[in-house]
Amino acid sequence: MQEFNITQTYLKFLEEDSEMTMPIAAIEALVTMLKVKNPKTSAEMIKSTKLAIEELTTSIPNSISLRAGCDIFMRFVLKNTHLYGDWENCQQHLIENGHLFVSRAKQSRDRIAEIGIDFISDDDIILVHGFSRAVFSLLSHAAEKLIRFRCIVTESRPSGQGLQLYHLLKKKGIPVTMIVDNAVGTIIHKVNKIFVGAEGVAESGGIINLVGTYSIGVLAKNARKPFYVVSESHKFVRMFPLSSDDIPMERDPLDFSKNGIEDDEEPLSGPSVDFTSQEYITALITDLGGLTPSAVSEELIKMWYD
């Protein structure tokens, strides 16, 4: 316990609980950090939180989602110390209720499922890209409510998330088929609606998600199919990327330096996430209700300027 490492704590949380999302893990890690460091003044608490957040975001390659959690945490700490002056109380509360946050996060998924069920109706064919717990919980909830719908799952290469979702849905008894990612354009006309998850929801209401989401969004708009994002509200993040280029990437997505001389080199490069801007999104299904993309901005503004 001496050498506290925020990154490892964070990774441990993720590993231990497969149900845990990145922002929640980040919050949990920060709570643990407070527990260990046990700062004596409010300034110390803020400082150590800031440092931990910086360490965490720099050390994790795909930091968008966890950044959302850090944002909320930081804001909460700041607000309580500045506004109410009861930082001790706040720290106490945070440390004591670590598990509560986790269960709340899971609850918010249930809430999403309840809200989102209205978006699914009988005879729907739903296209799902990537694996998102929120999407899955919504779909399984709908299936439990005896809504008869069918799913098309993209393979979601290279992460292979599609296969994971495919098996889960199959287990749930939902009729499902899997297609290669490139086939989306061909089958989009047969689809009634599209559900995707999100790693982070940006200020504009656009989303950062598994690569391929953007292409599907464009295809959906072209085919005038509703494109729904299913995401917990704690994934809202104060970022405003204009395009996928603005997202922090672990490496240059287009790597021309590999000249392919060695055979064993992985030829596949390219980004692992992309940004889908709000004009492609019909609505966001969150625990706060079905939101239009513009409502995301409001939530974020409220959080920072209240």
């Binding site: 006309h189 072209n222 085919a223 005038r224």
Partner: protein, 602 residues
Amino acid sequence: MTGGAKEASGKETNTEKTANAQEGEKPLSNKELKELKKKEKAAKRAASKQASGISIEKQQQQAAAKREKKQQQRDLLAAKKNKAADPVKHDTKKSTLFGHLETAEERRASLLAVSSAITSTGTSRITANGLVLPLLATTPAVAVSQPMSASPLSSNLSGSNTNLAGLAHSEDFEAHQMLNSLSLDESSSFVPGISSVIPNTMTSQFTNQQSIASVKELIANREMLHPAITSLTLDYAFYKIIGSIPRCIAMLEAFQLVVRDYKTPEGTTLSRNLTSYLSHQIDFLKKSRPLSVTMGNAIRWLKQEISLIDPSTPDSKAKKELCDKIAQFARERVQLADQLIIETASQHIEEGSTILTYGCSKVLTDLFLHNAINFGKNFQIVIVDSRPLFEGRKMAESLRNQGLNVLYVPITALGTVFNMDIKYVFLGAHSILSNGFLYSRVGTAQIAMLASRRNIPVLVCCESLKFSQRVQLDSVTSNELADPNDLVTIDSANPVQRRNNNGFLLQQFIKEREAQQKEVENSSKQNNKSGSANTNNATADEGKNVKDKPILAEWEKSPNLHIFNIMYDLTPPDYIKKIITEFGSLPPSSVPVVLREYKASA
């Protein structure tokens, strides 16, 4: 106004030609009158040449015209009392939006001016009872057999008159009395001349110099008109024959009769004279409605064929050849073309699919029937329809009667209908312009747009005969205005039927007179709202007339109220996936290519 009329009546030597022109001048402003007077002098000179051969009939007609003039002066005086701003009104009545288009009134006015003059020749006897004119039935036009149309003149042109007679005797006695009361001082005031048959609003529509000139010319040459053409013109004018292909076929059939009956005058040859003779017929046809593109293309072809005839060919042989060629043209360009189109388009009619179409297209009706009956395909057809023509109903009926699965919806239901799983949208065409735009029944563009926004392929079935060299960018610049009164009545009955049942012209006439009388009685009642309610009650006992007294019944009187009833609109090529012609399936961009390639055959 009256000064102009007096002056005109002083000119004894005028033929009925100028008299007719006078009809047109009546409602003009003084400024325009001066211009017209100049014209009149020129016309007088021209007329004096003809004057030597004035027949008794014509003299009678002159007399009739004079009497009419008096009648009109009376009317005008009465009108002046009530609405001094009458000529001004007609200037402002045209909306800025579509003021450039020839209104249905103008067209009908000129048509009626001509046709009444034609039919009244030789029969311009004045009967005791004014408008009761049974002898119209024996006009030369009707006496000639009408092989191509089941309903000859008596039911449409003179329809107004015969109906009038019928009404006068029975149901509409009141109106009849009213009519008589208007002509108290002269027992024989109602002659089948112009002003007695055409309501004032129509004659007053002669504001266009060109239309006056063309009417004059047509009346001058009225002997040259073939009865088949007059009959056909009226069928067009009353929307009895609609659709560009049926109109074209009917015209070609009429031309066959014209050619058959044609006799080359002495001193000229068939190949030289027939063309101008036909042009006369066509000028008259144009008075009913603007020529359709198909008709224009057919006429161009026919004229070319005539010019190719060797002058040495004996007339009888040439005429026979020409008739055969016309028949062949109709068969090749329409019937065979339709077969080919149906063959190609059938691949898009899939088992279990839903297909949306608009209005009524002959080739599409055949296509659907062919697929359902001959191929036994099972599919649903959504027929979208619109006011006021309700053409879709005809198509819906004929498909329904053959047991097809038809859903009939008004155009306002599109939002709901497009929520259904529609596979294709099939559209008919009036014409396809060389910039790829589809010129078709108004409403088509809206449907094509909605469909293409939903990624539903829009397919147009169209004979290449409908391809036009013309280019046009938007629907308002060049279009055909239909009768605004078609939109006044709010029921779902077809205006064509409505008109046939009730003697439309007569009603308008009566309405007008009635209104004038009412104005005399109490001009104050005009403006308040209860006035319209009162008229509704007042006319309640007139049975069918009640339907024609809806809210907008007196829209012509309100300077701010317009009714816009166009026939066609333009669909941009972006909305059209493919055009199926007898040459196969083409993108809209290939229309000019076809026009170039096949110009020789067109």
